[in-house]
């Protein structure tokens, strides 16, 4: 009887190697990949104009094709919010809840396993590889709190861990697994060479915006000023785009940095109040926050004009649009560079 394993496929090297080690033992493997909304999958790349010609591949799909396995991509945006908002094990250096994230993903994989009649779960975890979620003492925490228990096998470091069910039942030969540990990538690179894998995604750490300091600062600002840590997919997508400037607690401007971002932000003009320069080439700005009074609106326009080609003009015309009202024209003198206070700039 062919046993079946579901592999967590991130798109990086470790999950690629872990899956191939298990395939080598005659196990049927299928991949599972989770979309949290924070995944770094070329979004900024796809939005920004100068990047559009360099089309970026989805690494999880690429890995699945290299392995010759099916890949199930699962949208967990809504369920994942609780992981980000209330991480039981806390955050890493930024707003990255890495340990809770791993527990959550293994739990989801375990649910999938039961629904699809698979036998065990594999991940590309390596003891000591990551400071937060891959410490040795985290490994049993992930197995237990996810509910996967001994159905969770980490092929790359299995020889450094207690035997799991697939090993004890003889489905998998422990001798064919590995004893990798620590932060060095050399053993993985050697194994990749052995398997003939080239052109794999550069490994470690860069797969989630929550590990990014600038992004985390913007998310924290959003939470602080909203008075709530709730968010929607649009909120976290918009944090990936534009300059974010908050001149007061009441509102924030998201100002496009180039044409691709202007096109992208224009798609939100039915949801947000917007400002767009008219008399000169320039960006669109989304206004996020309360309805602005006249003084705030003038300030918002003067800031936006600062980033237009009319930055040195005496007067710049902008169009203020509100999804619920007719748009109108506003003339302002752009702010000078030194009038934009440093603490307004979120990122």
């Amino acid at each position: 009887m062919t046993r079946k394993a579901v592999a967590l496929i991130s798109g990086g090297l470790d999950s690629l190697l872990a899956a191939r080690l298990i395939q080598q033992q005659g196990i049927q493997v299928e991949g599972i990949n989770f979309f949290t909304g924070f995944c770094v999958e070329g979004h900024t790349h796809a939005i920004r104009n100068h990047d559009r010609k360099r089309v970026k591949r989805n690494n999880a799909l690429w890995v699945a094709e290299q392995l010759g396995i099916k890949l199930h991509i699962i949208d967990i945006v809504d369920e994942y919010k609780n992981v980000v908002i209330n991480p039981r094990h806390g955050y890493g250096a930024n707003l990255n809840p890495c340990l809770d994230c791993k527990i959550f993903m293994v739990r989801k994989a375990h649910e999938w396993l039961r629904e699809n009649d698979f036998d065990f779960i594999i991940t590309g975890e390596v003891i000591g590889q990551r400071p937060k979620s891959q410490r040795k003492r985290c490994m049993p925490v992930i197995s237990q709190e996810s509910g996967a228990e001994d159905l969770l096998l980490r092929p790359l470091c299995a020889q450094n861990l207690p035997a799991t069910l697939p090993e004890n039942e003889g489905w998998v030969d422990r001798a064919g697994l590995r004893d990798f540990g620590g932060r060095s990538r050399k053993p993985q690179m050697a194994l990749a060479r052995e398997f003939g894998f080239e052109d794999y995604a550069q490994p470690a750490g860069g797969c989630c915006f929550l590990t990014d300091k600038t992004y985390s600062v913007k998310l924290q600002d959003l939470w602080d000023n909203r008075g709530s840590r709730e968010y929607e997919l649009d909120d976290i997508m918009l944090l990936k785009v534009g300059r974010h400037i908050r001149p007061s607690k009441d509102f924030k401007l998201i100002i496009a940095r180039e044409e691709g971002e202007t096109n992208f932000l224009s798609g939100y003009r039915h949801q947000f109040q917007t400002i767009k320069t008219v008399s000169h080439g320039g960006p669109i700005a989304l206004i996020e926050g309360v309805t602005l009074d006249a003084e705030q609106l003038e300030l918002a326009c003067a800031i936006t004009a600062r980033f237009s080609q009319g930055r040195d003009a005496d007067s710049v015309e902008l169009r203020f649009s509100d999804p619920e009202q007719a748009s109108r024209s506003i003339h302002v003198k752009p702010l000078a560079a030194n009038q934009i206070e440093r603490d307004w700039i979120i990122a």
Partner: protein, 83 residues
Amino acid sequence: MSEIIEVDARRLFCPLPVIRLQNCIKQQQPGARVRIVSTDPGSMNDIPTWCRINGHQVLASEEQDREFIFLVQKATMEVSHGG
């Protein structure tokens, strides 16, 4: 010929267009045809790759006014990826 099912994945970014296609295809009978429109340039790689992995066929693809359009036919047989 059966009707073509439409999937609008405009303004969605990778991997959401693939997820929309995947979830639609899952509900269809073998041989069904699905037309998906995406504005994410990443779809040019991702949708054909996802189809190859799962044995579905891209019958046609084109780019029109920054939109990427694919006509996909669901596999008539389950793809086997033996160990």
